[in-house]
Symmetry: C3
Subunit: 436 residues, 3 copies
């Protein structure tokens, strides 16, 4: 049976994924550089990701791949000679892509380079300046306000030079060339949920599919820096993807314990939209559907006009609803093994639904004689129509070659995983023929 092709998640997978988040957490990543490269190499221990490089200066659609940024150290020494901010304490302290700098500034001059959140005074914000050359430090607002007047010594030991943008890719070939695209971004420094939960879940999902029987569909996993990475990747692969991708997700922020959120595609009418809403609804858990208007991550690129891939976003707490989003509070306490395991299982349900969802055509007019195939009671009693065979009749009644099994499941008000085994049985009996 197609639908059950993917086995359940192995025991302890949640903890294993959480351990991986912990290992990857300290690395300082950005949209280019050694942190990103090293993170991808570590994930190769989980699944056979192919790592590629795109040179700085390469034109990718309307953009240009920027210089590569690396940083070894950064700090600010206060008027009293003590380090008041140190990159070694948290890599969030330095504005991403800060240019190298050494110099002395008085308090007021320094302030123009400081970033903090007044109404979250104990947290360090995550700030970047990829496309404008500047430097800066991020710090808790309370600390910023306590900095006395006087002269400060600033050191940023970074480099910003031609190099390359790194990304990872892994394709699990299925029986058909129709593809599910699973994209996750890897470019933020030390944040647990809105950075590491996505790539770690993606890598483990890839391994899980590789370890199982050959799937019907092909699964393409992509690990890219957000925005520029997705654009660079699409720039090189757009036509191929447009030919083969029939569904997919941006995987991110899947490690917190909040309800699931699904970010719809641009028009909200793709198979991915219908399928994910169906799976979430029948999972019995609370969830929200998020209009594309509120999009935030690489679904912006995948769903843009001219690209138009059916790729939504399946996550836990929606970015805008999260207090810790893009701050130092998104640390290892923000993700749990249980949440990672639940998210893994929800993704598995969705992928199983994709495996099961085909268009079928009934091969004979009228209902077939099911009782001779032991698919219907041979005794005509009062309640025969309310029997479990009803699911079989419903599949046959709607298998008109234009509506897919998901549509039939929605029409019959049953989860697709209830219908899928019957559809497979009917296909084996020769009563249904797949038309896709």
């Amino acid at each position: 049976m197609d639908y059950m092709r993917f086995p359940d998640a192995p025991e302890g997978l949640g903890s294993e994924m959480h351990d991986w988040i912990t290992r990857l957490f300290p690395i300082c990543r950005s949209i280019t550089g050694e942190g990103l490269r090293r993170s991808l190499r570590m994930l190769q221990e989980v699944a056979p990701i192919t790592v590629s490089e795109i040179s700085s200066g390469t034109k990718v659609f309307d953009w240009t791949v920027p210089d590569e940024w690396n940083i070894s150290d950064a700090f600010i020494i206060g008027p009293d000679g003590r380090r008041v901010i140190d990159f070694k304490d948290s890599n969030l302290h330095v504005v991403g892509y800060s240019v190298p700098f050494r110099g002395k500034l008085i308090r007021k001059e320094l302030d123009e380079h400081l970033f903090s959140i007044p109404d979250r005074p104990d947290t360090i914000p995550y700030v970047t300046s990829y496309y404008k050359r500047r430097w800066g430090f991020c710090l808790p607002h309370r600390l910023r306000e306590s900095l006395p007047d006087g002269e400060y010594e600033v050191v940023i030991d970074s480099t910003l030079r031609p190099g390359s943008l790194t990304f990872g890719e892994l394709v699990v070939e299925g029986q058909t060339t129709s593809e599910i695209l699973l994209s996750t971004y890897l470019c933020h420094p030390s944040m647990a949920n809105d950075q590491l939960s996505g790539p770690v879940l993606a890598a483990h999902l890839a391994r899980h599919i590789i370890d199982g029987p050959k799937p019907r569909l092909t699964y393409r996993f992509v690990f890219v820096p957000e925005t520029i990475g997705a654009i660079a990747y699409l720039s090189s692969s757009l036509e191929k993807l447009q030919r083969s991708v029939i569904g997919g997700y941006v995987i991110s922020s899947v490690g917190d314990s909040g309800d699931f959120s699904y970010i719809q595609t641009r028009m909200g009418d793709t198979q991915t939209d219908r399928l994910t809403a169906h799976v979430l609804k029948h999972s019995g858990k609370k969830f929200q559907l998020v209009d594309f208007l509120r999009r935030g991550s690489d679904e912006r690129q995948y769903c843009s006009p001219g690209v138009d891939l059916p790729v939504g976003g399946l996550m836990r707490t929606f970015y805008e609803d999260s207090d810790v989003y893009h701050t130092s509070e998104d640390d290892l306490t923000a993700v749990t093994p249980e949440a990672m395991e639940q998210s893994f299982s929800m993704y598995l349900r969705c992928l199983r639904a994709f495996e099961a969802n085909r268009k079928f055509r009934a091969t004979v007019p009228c209902e077939p004689q099911l009782s001779k195939r032991d698919l219907y009671p041979d005794l005509g009693e009062r309640d025969v129509c309310r029997s479990p065979s009803r699911a079989i009749l419903d599949i046959l009644a709607f298998a008109d070659g234009t509506h897919d099994l998901l549509w039939i499941a929605d029409r019959a008000e049953r989860p697709i995983w209830e219908l899928a085994p019957f559809a497979a049985r009917l296909e084996r009996e020769g009563l249904l023929a797949a038309v896709d």
Copy 2:
């Protein structure tokens, strides 16, 4: 005027139909055999039904026409020598298609061949076993529980041999070849509402149309055993029906006093669906629309993929909502002359709506000058636009050749029988042209 082509039901028709139900009630029918044949011959007294036979063993789509079943007697004699169950008391006592049997069984062995409804202890259920060779008796649960231990003598004098499946057909030719298919099943033993009300109404409806002026549409009446009969009929006539049928109904269970129920077609979007909902809504009576998911009778075949005829089901109390459905309680008290007459009239309304429902195109751009044809007040007063002429203007305003009169009636929030006479008048004036 097309719409009024069918005259109203003649006085006393309800009683006449009820008498027919009474005459047909005692016959033991099944999906083949003499009971079915005799019932059809009797209905030929009402209308000129053509009776045909399909031989046992004929392949009909995925099915095979079964052997013919006939029964002359059946009973069970208890340990005390008295007949505890006798086919002569009620033909529901024997499971339909029971194989011939003569033998002695102890109470426990006998029980495997008994059928009853524990929570309706005084009623005999209706049970069949068409496609698995077995025998059995149906009885009130209270009686079953009172049967003492001991030896029972069982006699079933039935035959199950190659023969044929019988069905009836009657076509009333109209001015066009577009057809309304009116199908009713005839295969149950002594049950009044869910068996005889349908064929009796159908036969009288046929006679009524024959007796009136020639209709615009052709009317095809079909009397078949349920499921296998409809399949066999479709197997022989599918292409012809697909070319000509534009609407239709499975007529059944029209004799009880419950509210009307309409079982929608598979997608719920055919002319039959729109028209029937419209007629029911404007009839001012309570009614329910039943989703195709809850289908139960031959609409299962007519609406199956590959057949796809626009045939719904118009009945009174929906099967599942009826307590007496498929039991001995569906007797002559379950149907009334008044209900039969109301159902007849509702069918007549629907057929009139089919007659009236055409697509029209206004023959001149802009509104025509209605006042010179006495179709509009010649005095321009304050309230002129609220006058009854509004209906005429509404027909003209929406007669764009793509929307039918039913659509216009729905759009204008009026019953089609209010608009139809005006449409006919405008057609005569040359201001409307039918485009279908």
Copy 3:
């Protein structure tokens, strides 16, 4: 920027328009004749309207242009020798198109020629009899009831002779041949709101467009007697209009202080419908959408099958909801300078929306790099996605060449006038291309 092409209404325009209504008020107009002709000549002082004539007897679709009607005097002298009704007091006193008459009638004979409204006893109704030759007088019901028995002398000095039907037209050429049709009727005698507010606003709107920079679209203003005039106009210009008209309005009853009402086109799905509902909704004012079923004026012709122009009606209080409609109470107190100015501004908003509403296609796949064009913050902070740049991203995200800017505005839940300047900017940057 296309959208702002039309400047705001000049100061004092409301009073200027009200003065024009006052000047035109006393003239006795009908669907033909000198009153209509003189009114058009006066409006030529506002804008360069071309005046044309169509001879009596000309066939226009299903109609014939009637004889021309003119009237110089009319009165009734009572039994006591005093004038009880005098055309010179109010031209509403005479039924429009009354044939000439001189004679003496007793009270009872006279009554057949009198028209009044019993439940509005102090008002004179507006009554016409264009296509049936009769004569009559309209009067307050209270006056009618006070008329004593006796002999009355009746004089109607009118003429009804072959002549012509007069209409006006004014085309302001734009950069494209796509047209907005603005039609207003001019055929009622002394009524202020439901007669003069429309033509006066239309004339001033035409002048305003002429005085501004060349618009993108062409604007066609039409001043016709209601019904017969619109039909005659369409009869001569239908194909041309069908090729070019993409939107438009019947302008009438725009001078009272009631909420705006928009009469939808026949199917309610044209650009005009979407756009007007959008503009009204985002204007922050109360309004109602009126179904085409309740149509009353020349939208009846413009939206008829075979004509099918996307022309709705934008007015203040809907006819049927107005107490003064078609009575002598629709006098100069029924219209105010403020209301005229508000209506002018609302029309201006709609026309600006038509100017701005185009279909755009994003020229590059994926989001373009907006920060290098100063269209996006160069600093990646927590709230960047909630910034005003969101509007730009939304335009690009939905600019798929099939949805117009109005659709995008509705989708993004913003008024089109917020998006239009950004769309213009993106077009200049080469990131959007118009596809219409």
